[in-house]
């Protein structure tokens, strides 16, 4: 199962990642990070397909994407 990891305290809440997810699972968290922004996050991780669009458009290298190794 692919997985997205957000380094939430680096996030500046620009929301660009929320516009590119084909599964619409990247959302802005209700909590506030160390910088005072609502950081981006994924609640329904099981829907992630590991396309890495979110990481690709993130200007602050907040996002890491992991995938199963292809056999």
């Amino acid at each position: 199962m692919p997985k997205v990891v957000f380094d939430e305290d680096r996030c500046k809440g620009c929301e660009l990642c929320t516009t590119v997810c084909p599964k619409n699972i990247v959302v802005m968290s209700k909590k506030i990070n160390a910088k005072g922004y609502h950081p981006a996050t994924v609640d329904e991780m099981d829907k992630c397909i590991g396309c890495a669009f979110c990481a690709n458009i993130c200007p602050d290298t907040v996002i890491e994407v992991f995938k199963e190794e292809k056999k």
């Binding site: 997985k3 458009i57 200007p59 602050d60 994407v65």
Partner: protein, 248 residues
Amino acid sequence: MIKVAGRPESLQSKQFHYCPGCTHGIIHRLVAEVMDELGIREESIGVAPVGCSVLAYEYFNCDMHEAAHGRAPAVATGIKRVHPDKVVFTYQGDGDLASIGTAEIVHAAGRSEKITTIFVNNAIYGMTGGQMAPTTLIGQKATTSPYGRSVEAQGYPLKVSEMLATLTGAAYIARVSVHDPQHIRKAKAAIKKAFEYQIAGKGFTLVEVLSTCPTNWGLTPIEALKWLEENMLPYYPLGEYKTPEEVK
């Protein structure tokens, strides 16, 4: 599990100072990913500009040299002539490259200096607070063109890629954009080509990257991407303006 996206080794872990949603961060990461993929981090020397990306020397994880406003291509020339076997690149904005640094960029291209320039065009002076740039579009408002840029008063925005592509010494000139994932992928491919052509000794290479400035455009980051797509793409068409195949 393998990591398919994240911070490349050629980027320091330091947090960017850029405003939320500013696409400088994307472009930094693309350059760093290319350096990683080509395995040239320890062979590279970057030249930082004056402007929003003045602190680029704190972000790229390679030897860096901070230049005066507009002079990065001259500084890069000095470095490359001393170390012809190293990879030398400049990272410059549109005020830096297309206004105060026009002489330096034109002649670096003319001499076919074997360097790579990443030219970030966001049609405005960001660092100094949103003044009109040489690339500001007709009708676009800036703090020094408060009524919108007019042809009568300020003339036409410079099309740098088209202009430089006319020079024999330019080996690879491309204009790309980072307003969506597909274009970001293409932008990276162009940056990679530029570095590869430099390494192959083809001559001067430049990638113009259309970028946003949500803060000074007065838009949200999402609106800014849309504004870029709708307003900048028609005036600054994307594509490869020069490739080494044409040079021969």
